[in-house]
Structure formats: C-alpha cells, structure tokens
C-alpha cells in the first residue's frame, strides 16, 4: 500500500476507536439525567413545561416539621398527597395526644398545595385560622396540628 494510505488508515482507525468511546460517553451523559427515575430537565428541552414554576413564584419542594416531637423532620414533596395523623399508614405519623388518627391532608392541585382537615377532634390551623374547607398553603406559613407545627419550604 502507498505510504500515504497507510498513514491515513492508521489515524483513521484510532479515530474510529475514540469515536466509539465518545458515542458511549454520550449515552452515559444522557443517562445521567435519567438516573434513578428522577426527572431533571435537560437544558434546551425544559422551555415548554417548566417555565412557569421557575419564572413565577417558587413551588414547595419539602415539608418541614418546625415544632413538636418530630421537629426537624423533612419530607420531600413528590406530588402525592401527604396524610398526617396517628394512623400507621400516614405519611407523617404523629405521636401526639392532641392529634386524631386521621387528622389532616395536604394535597397538590395544579401548582398549589391545599390543606384540609379530615374531621379531627382538635382541629387544624393554618397560621391562626381554623381549617374548615381546603385552604391554599403558601410557603413558610405554619400549619398547627395538636402540638406539631409544619411548614412548606421551597
């Protein structure tokens, strides 16, 4: 073979090998975002769905217990309703004599979280107001259930 062809094929094959490595790395990169099923927006494809919550006010990401026996507990909000009460199947299980078995529920409607009382004995309070109908919960406003106080945080 002519020398030039030998040199070109030599470099070409090395390029081919590294092209494979880079193709594989590209798969790795795109997979990073899908790790463990978490949906993280890719730059460039988030413009449709995710603009409003980022541009407008912040959405609640976690629920924090600020007072009471469970103070310091954090629960990540994933859109599923949060049940609060003494029942074992509650999301936040309270060990509080002033709480009912199924005391209150936080649920997501649209982009806002609403709190509702589930017929508790001692009532649920959003800031100072007693919760009788579902109320929208702004960020950082305390919800009192018995001796426990919880808040939504971004």
């Amino acid at each position: 073979m002519p020398e030039l062809v030998v040199q070109l094929t030599r470099a070409g094959f090395l390029a081919l090998l590294w092209l494979f490595v880079f193709a594989a790395l590209r798969v790795v990169r795109s997979d990073l975002y899908a790790a463990s099923g978490l949906r993280v927006e890719l730059p460039g494809r988030r413009d449709k769905q995710a603009k409003r919550p980022i541009g407008g006010r912040k959405t609640a990401r976690q629920l924090v217990v600020t007072h009471g026996a469970l103070a310091g507990t954090r629960i990540a909000l994933d859109g599923r309703p949060i049940l609060i009460g003494r029942a074992d199947d509650s999301t936040l299980v309270l060990d509080d004599d002033y709480a009912s078995t199924r005391h209150a529920r936080l649920s997501l409607r649209g982009t806002d979280w609403y709190v509702e009382d589930l017929g508790s004995t001692n009532g649920t309070y959003l800031d100072r107001a007693k919760v009788t109908a579902p109320l929208r919960v702004p960020l950082g406003v305390p919800i009192r259930i018995g001796k426990t106080v919880i808040e939504l945080r971004p």
Binding site: V6, F13, L17, V28, S30, L42, R105
Partner: protein, 496 residues
C-alpha cells in the same frame, strides 16, 4: 439553572429524540442505542481486519465483509436475546464487550500471521489460534444466552450461595490436587486437560466464589457491623467475625502456593476485600486485608524462588534479560510499547510476535505497539466504561445481594485489567492472568461472558420500572374520591 452542560449539549439535545426517559415517563429501554453501537463495534472489527490484511500484504477479498457481517450477526442474536429477556439492561455493556472481543480476535489473527511467517522461515508450520478463539467466542455467547435465559432474577442465586462456594472452592483446588501431567501447562498448575482442549477452572471459580461471598455477606452482615475492641482509636472487628476473611486469605495463599500463580490470588483477595468494604462500609477491613496481603507477600517472597524472580524481573527486566525465565518477556513487551509510541505503528505493521505469549498475557503490549498510546488508552477507556456501567447497575439495583454481586463483578473486571496491564507496563510485578475478552483463552472468555450476563441481569433489575407501582397510584385515587365529598360543602349533601 444555567448548567455548564448547556454549552455542549444545547445543540445536540434539540435533535435528540429521548435521552433517558421515554414517552409517558417510562424509563426507555435504550435497546436501539445498543443495536447501533453493536453495529459500530462490528465496523471497528471489520476495518481492523481490513487494515491487518492490507498491511500484511494478504489478498483482500470480500470474505472479510462476510466475517464482519457474521460477527455482527452473532452479536445481533445476543442483542435480540437481551431485548427479549432483559429489556431494561444497560445498553453499553454488550457493545463494549463486542469491541474488545473483536479487537482481540483481530490481534490474535494478526499474531497468527506473523508466527506463521516465522515458522515458515525455519521450516515448520504454525497452527493458528484465531479460528479456535472464534469457536470459543461462539460457545461463550451461547453460554451468555443460557445464563440470561435461565437466571430470570439474580436474587434466586442467593439460594445457591453455599453450593456455589463449595463448587468454586473445589474447582479452584482441583488443578492443584490433580497430577502434574493433567494440570500443568508452562509451569502454571491451573489447568484441567480434557483431551482436545484444556480449561482453567479458576476463571469460573472466581464468579462462583463471588456469588458465595455476596450471599454470605448479605445474610451475615450484622455480624461484621458489630463493634469489637478499640485499638489505637480504631474499632477492630471481633475475632469470630474475622473468620471469613482469614479463610479467604488462607485459601488464596494456599492456591498461590500450590499453583505458583500470584495473579488469581491477588484478584480473589481484592474482590473479597471490596465486597467486605461495600457490605460494611468500614475501611478497617481494607486496612486489615492489605496488611494480611502484604504479610503474605513478604512470606512468599522469602520462601519461593519464582516469586523472587518475578520481583527481580519487575525491578530491572534488562538485568535478567538473558537468563532463562528472566526479564526477556517484560523487556520485549516494553520495547514493543516503545516502538508503538503515541500513535502506534499501525495495525499489521509492527512486530508484536517478538514478545513471548503475545496473544495471551502480553496482548496489551501488542495493541500498544500497533495502536500506540492513543489506541491502548481507548481500549482502557472501554474497560473503564464497562466497569463503570456495571457499578452503576449495582448502585441502582434495589436489593443488597444485587448491589454486592454487581459491585464485585464490575470491580473484578477493573482489577483484572489493572493487574495484567500493570504487569505488562512494569507498574507492578508481572503475574499470569488473562486480559478479559482480549487475550486468547477459552476459559477466560467463557467465564467473562457469564460475568457480563450476570451484570446485564442486575442492570436490568436496576432499571426496570418497579412493578408494585401500578397498584400504588390507585390508593391516592380512592383517597381523592374522599376529598371530593369533603370539598363540596355548598353541594346538596354538603353537611354530613
């Protein structure tokens, strides 16, 4: 959210169809990615073959294209099997293996050509190893399919933990106990000769023992976590908990003594240590194991002449260049790497056959000579990808046994590559161990394909969407109905 990836990824992601998550939020199986990467692997293998044929001044025929297509076809069968039996398996593991195996086949064929030319000069003939390796590849892929089909769920393996351990130990010890005529090839007593071919049971024992250790650690994990005496501010494990690691060290040293082979001992020991560390998250085990291993090494060095020789060859291969069993092989390998330089001599243009055992232990030297540093680095990158994807599967899988086994298997690949490439490049003393997928050898190829099948099985379990998730959304749905009742106080039956 201005991530640095935005710069590199903005343009390409606009056109990309779906990176990780398919429509409806279901994790994509990514089998299409695997298929085209396998095609890429076949292209690499074919072009390597063309280059070898051209540079060795062989006749270029259309047969090469058929070889390439056949290679692609064989892996396509594996791909279809993965599609059928492990649809969520990692898409990079199989293509990486295909590239390594293809490159290995071409290198073995290329060394065959050189050795045949050499044999012709002195009037003998050289029987090629490449056809045998092709047959081994086919058998290995059949075994791969069998493992993938038979083991539907890797967790069933925990039931056979002790059986695996026993069989593994017997397989490991068998060559050492058999008479020399049945078990020794080139001074290493690690074989079982079976008429036409011989197998190296240690390669399979490696996987069996890993299954045993993972199963054992999952069931006895608490024992290792319990604290013992505090010595010098470190918590030492209790004496009875140290049993397994002492046994592991003893068995490894026993094999090492009887088989005159440091490589497998180092590999087993390293994998056991990593499994212990992963299971307990306590660094003391690694420290303890390394201490035991260095003590073992010192004892072995003072007792055995062949260990002293290996170390002497490592320290200065040129000093023992002319002695029998001296540094000739390592020195030749280093000369080969030096000849290759950064870009290599080009496939088929070097002289890798001047290194003894160029197609087995020293195949990385042959690759380094013909593809240079750049090519060898790419090969090592592919190994890294393979191990990384294995570890990723182990991290993501939900059961402890899968985590331990996957981590152990992936680490075993990385450690094995380190031991052999480190030996060839004179980083550590040379120990006889195969390069996974690249080097000539049936047992190694079969065992490594089984290993890859297990890794695929584990990564499939890791990425498969959780089954009980289907009934789960129904529960909030029922709860939601309850909400509707409460929510309508101004409706007809509002106050109840």
């Amino acid at each position: 959210m201005s991530r640095p990836v935005g710069l590199a990824g903005g343009r390409s992601d606009g056109s990309a169809t779906s990176p990780g998550i398919g429509p409806l939020g279901k994790p994509a199986t990514r089998r299409g990615t695997e298929a085209w990467l396998l095609g890429f692997a076949a292209v690499i293998m074919t072009s390597a073959l063309v280059l070898v044929e051209a540079n060795q001044e062989q006749e270029l025929t259309w047969a090469i294209v058929w070889y390439g297509l056949a290679y692609f076809g064989v892996f396509l069968i594996a791909h279809v099997a993965v599609r059928r039996w492990a649809p969520y398996a990692d898409p990079l593991i199989l293509p990486s293996v295909a590239v390594l195996n293809g490159l290995g086949l071409v290198m073995i064929y290329r060394i065959d050509l050189a050795l045949a030319a050499k044999a012709e000069q002195i009037g003998t003939t050289h029987t090629g190893d490449a056809p045998k390796q092709v047959i081994w590849t086919a058998i290995a892929l059949a075994l791969f399919l069998a493992v993938l089909i038979l083991i539907k769920d890797h967790r069933t393996l925990t039931r056979y933990g002790y059986t695996c351990g026993l069989v593994g130990l017997v397989a490991l010890a068998l060559p050492a106990l058999l008479p020399r005529s049945l078990s020794e090839i080139n001074g290493a007593k690690v074989w079982i000769k079976l008429g036409f071919f011989s197998i190296q049971p240690g390669e399979f024992a490696k996987i069996l023992l890993m299954i045993f250790f993972a199963a054992f650690l999952v069931s006895k994990r608490d024992l290792f976590m319990s604290a013992g005496k505090r010595v010098l501010g470190m918590e030492l494990p209790r004496a009875r908990d140290m049993g397994p690691i002492v046994i592991a060290a003893g068995v490894c040293l026993g094999i090492f003594v009887l088989q005159k082979d440091l490589g497998p001992a180092l590999l087993f020991f390293g994998v056991v240590l990593v499994l212990l560390y992963v299971a307990t998250e306590r660094f003391i085990w690694v420290l303890l194991g390394l201490t035991l291993f260095s003590v073992g090494c010192v004892i072995a060095y003072s007792l055995f002449t062949h260990v002293q020789q290996r170390v002497a060859n490592w320290i200065d291969p040129l000093a023992t260049y002319d002695q029998p069993g001296g540094g000739y092989q390592i020195a030749q390998g280093l000369f080969g790497l030096g000849t290759g330089g950064v870009f290599g001599t080009g496939l088929g243009s070097g002289r890798p056959e001047t290194v003894p055992a160029a197609n087995t232990d020293f195949i990385t030297a042959a690759i380094g000579e013909e593809l240079g540093f750049v090519g060898l680095a790419a090969v090592l990158m592919i190994y890294l990808l393979l191990a990384m994807r294995g570890l990723r599967g182990a991290l993501a899988v939900r059961d402890t046994f899968g985590k331990l086994l996957g981590g152990g298997l992936a680490f075993a690949i990385a450690l094995q590559v380190f031991i052999i490439v480190g030996g060839v490049t004179k980083l550590i003393p040379m120990t006889g161990i195969t390069t996974p997928f690249l080097s000539y050898g049936g047992s190694s190829l079969l065992a490594n394909y089984i290993l890859v099948a297990l890794l695929l099985r584990i990564s499939d379990a890791a990425r498969r969407p959780r089954k009980p998730q289907k009934p789960r959304p129904q529960q909030p749905a029922i709860a939601e109905q309850h909400t509707v009742m409460v929510q309508a106080p101004d409706g007809p039956g509002g106050k109840s």
